[in-house]
Amino acid sequence: MTEQHPKKSDASRAGVSLLVRVIAVLLPVAIAFDLPGDKRLERTASASSLLQARDKLKDPRIIAEGARLFAPSCGNAYCHGTGGVGGGAPRLRGKDLEAAYVFKSISNGIPGTPMPSFKSELSDEQIWKLVAFIVSDAKTSAAADPLFSLPAASSSTAPMISAEPIASSSIVGSSQAGKALFFDSSQPKSCHACHSFNGEGTQIGPDLSAAASRSPRDLLLSIIVPSGLKDAQYATITVALRNGEKVVGVKKEEDAESLRIYDTTELPAVLRTVQKADAAKVEYVNESVMPKDYASAYTMKQLLDLVTFLKSSPQSKSTLMLKDLFQ
């Protein structure tokens, strides 16, 4: 298991610049993953930030800062263990790992393994500090020491999930609160159980990434009066089975022998494979299977938050007031 990580080659020791190697590693990654253009730009930008990082990899201060970051992000018992000597995940220190490989692995994660991506929670600079520590020879025990100088102030009892303060006026929508509602995992009947947004969630109903182009009023009505259908693909299918059962939901796909249907009777929806031989009757109705009680399940403020979230995009933060929902 430990042999598969690339190690420093003789060529690298001979002085091939780190930056060149990083670009060589990262660009093919961007291409292989077929990232959209803007993301590829981001990657190149992160590679260019390495120019400054290059000399800092050996800076004892940077290494110490990396050690400090390592403890909470990587060093826990389930992961790489104190000082990176191995916990549930492989040993990292003292293995002669290549810096660019380590950066890429932290940033993107390693698919197919438990190693997650950290690019959403750590800046490139922080990741480089981690890299500096991981590839350094700093002693493990010394590496653990900076832990104890952590300021006690950061041990806040409140989890810092929400960076955006809830708006002081209750009639202004909060996209952060709307996002939390959309992805609320504390109840099965939550938007993301059927819809996706920017690649997250489930694709049983329409993807809502492009919802920002719709008017607030249109979005509100789609939530509280969802019977109208824009796309026949999401029509309600009802299959009466020969054994008396009825399967109601949205068709996913069909072949000669079977129908694959998202049964939405209860959420989360169940993808059922129904043999056509077992079906007595198949009916389609041009109506949505979406639950029709969101007008009573959510408060007005929650509906405003949801619409505000759907109207927001990485490019623009939209500010919505309650009155906007009715225009």
Binding site: P111, G112, P114, A144, T157, I161, S186, D263, A269
Partner: protein, 577 residues
């Protein structure tokens, strides 16, 4: 086969055929029927069908016991290897307990590959390869602990948090439900589901990330959610007051990563709930943190809580209560008491009355315990030794547990409860960490250390399950990571991490037989019979979170080979009695 030809048979012929089938090979006929007749009602009486290993623990009581007695302490030395099956991928090892029903073995291997095998010959009947997203980050690894079988279906949970039902005859998918987006929740399903009445009950991981745990019950035939029990009460529910007035209740863990037990006469499902998160920093969640580290008793029809017992309130050590709940009826002073015997990661066994949840006893199954001084007669923890931010603290047993999740066994014949133990400690360092939904939320590091009185060591023991009185003990160099199996022939089976599958005299602990399968043991050995011949099957193949952490403590473990195969043994054909 019988169904398709029914119309062509005369009634007399049909009756005659059935008669022959019943007499000669009842199991074979059912197998070809896809086990459609294996219902929740039939599973209640699993003990009356010792030819099968029909549920994850063998039966609802979680004994890991079979009454089969063709293989006994006095002839087990004659066991020979009968067949082996290679799953084909060694990464993740083989952690599963196979299920055998009516002559067919159902097995799940890493990456959620499911196989149906002829349990007598090892011939493969079908293979199902689960398609999970290629970019999946698997939170705990690629292994799976087992399937459930019934209603003509094979059920399992997946790495990306789906529950799937396959047609038991064809291996084709019948229903598939995504419980929660794995990318959002940081949780997955690697424990075995189990069938109770018409429902399939499934737990999940997520106790070491910011997540709110739950147990789900799905209608076995349709996959529709029947009920969900959240392990952390929401606003307005009793127990919510044991969490701070922040969003911590949404991120407080309480995972349900193993498999529950069931008492049909009380209609209660028992489930051990995992640790609260963040695991080591309990200052972010003042309060008892219900129902983490609890045994919960849940009404099987409604999912409503009947009672709970919290073993470790406000946990600071990652001492899950997730391990098996062993249901034992004990007659003392002329009165039969319905007990629940529950080993905890913390090195203690809790004994409760399973009708009321009343505390009866807590006793240590390892020698080295420093996280608490004692547990008093009412179950109260005396002298808690909590790690604190900025102050590393020697905690015994180590975070990995007084033992790992691999399960114990109980024999009603010897009255003994068999279990393994590890003597080890760790320097625990706590640090502050903020909750991010679905992301790791452990807030502590551990440095494995030997106990104060000697080197790290392990043992296999036989106890009185209620008093904890030790009847025999065997020393081992490395932890036992295979589940135990005990039989009506008074043989105790288990495997070690170096590949030896071993048989012991259940009464004395004397080793009687051993066979090296070539890779360490991390799954659940079982026994079953086909056409009157008793078989013992053992999964072989190291791999799991615990195993990948072993080289930090035992450097030589880095060289132990992986594997993923089932080995099956029996007495030689002419030597059955």
């Amino acid at each position: 086969m019988i169904d398709s030809k029914k119309s062509q048979l005369t009634w007399a012929g049909l009756v005659g055929l059935c008669f022959i089938v019943v007499l000669t090979a009842f199991g074979q006929a059912s197998a070809q029927d896809g086990n459609g007749d294996l219902t929740g009602e039939r599973l209640v009486n699993a003990r009356k069908e010792p030819q099968n290993w029909a549920t994850y623990f063998g039966a609802y009581d979680a004994w890991r016991y079979s009454s089969l007695d063709q293989i006994r302490a006095d002839n087990v030395k004659n066991l020979v290897s009968v067949w082996a099956f290679q799953t084909g991928k060694v990464e993740g090892g083989l952690n599963a307990t196979p299920i055998v029903v009516d002559g067919v073995m159902y097995l799940i291997a890493s990456e959620d590959r499911v196989f149906a095998l002829n349990a007598e010959t090892g011939d493969r009947l079908w293979t199902y390869n689960y398609k999970f997203p290629r970019d999946l980050i698997s939170p705990y690894g690629k292994f799976n602990r087992g399937v459930a079988v019934g209603y003509g279906l094979v059920f399992f949970g997946t790495m990306d948090n789906h529950v799937v039902a396959l047609n038991a005859k064809s291996g084709k998918e019948v229903w598939n439900v995504e419980v929660e987006d794995v990318k959002k929740c940081g949780c997955n399903i690697n424990g075995a589901p189990f069938i109770v009445k018409d429902k399939i009950i499934v737990g999940g991981t997520g106790g070491d990330s910011a997540h709110r745990g739950y147990i789900n019950a799905f209608n076995a035939k349709t996959g529709r959610l029947a009920w969900r029990f959240y392990t952390i009460p929401g606003p307005g529910e009793p127990g919510h007051e044991t969490w701070p007035e922040t969003d911590m209740w949404k991120y407080g863990g309480g995972s349900t990563w193993l498999t529950g037990s069931y008492d049909p006469t009380l209609n209660l499902i028992y489930w051990g709930i995992g640790n609260p998160s963040s695991d080591f920093n309990n200052s972010v969640r003042p309060g008892e943190n219900l129902y983490t580290n609890c045994i919960v008793a849940i009404d099987a029809d409604t999912g409503k809580l009947k009672w709970h017992y919290q073993e470790i309130p406000h946990d600071a050590w990652d001492f899950d209560s997730a391990y098996e709940s062993v249901l034992i009826d004990l007659t003392r002073n002329g009165k039969t008491e319905k007990l629940l015997v529950h080993p905890n990661k913390s090195g203690f066994v809790w004994v409760l009355n399973r009708e009321t949840g009343k505390f009866i006893n807590a006793w240590p199954y390892v020698d080295t315990i420093t996280w608490v001084k004692s547990i008093d007669k009412d179950g109260k923890l005396i002298g808690r030794n909590e790690p604190e931010i900025g102050k590393p603290n020697l905690i015994c047993p180590n975070w990995g547990g007084g033992r790992s999740w691999n399960h114990s066994a109980y024999s009603p014949r010897t009255g003994l409860w068999y279990n393994d133990g590890i003597e080890w400690c760790a320097n625990v360092t706590v640090y502050p960490q903020e909750a991010r939904e679905g992301r790791s939320f452990v807030a502590g590091n551990v440095d494995v250390k030997p106990p104060p009185d000697g080197p790290i060591r392990a043992h296999l023991d036989a106890f009185d399950p209620v008093t904890g009185q030790k009847k025999w003990t065997l020393p081992f160099k490395y932890p036992i990571l295979s589940s135990l199996l005990v039989t009506g022939g008074d043989v105790l089976f288990t495997g070690d991490v170096e590949g030896r599958f071993m048989a012991f005299d259940a009464k004395t602990g004397k080793q009687l037989w051993s066979f090296n399968t070539g890779s360490g043991h991390r799954g659940g050995p079982i026994t079953y019979s086909v056409k009157g011949r008793q078989f013992v099957a053992v999964p072989s193949g190291l791999g799991s979170l615990f195993v990948s952490g072993m080289p930090a403590t035992w450097p030589e473990a880095a060289g132990w080979p992986g594997g993923s195969a089932v080995f099956v043994f029996a007495l030689p054909e002419g030597n059955r009695k």
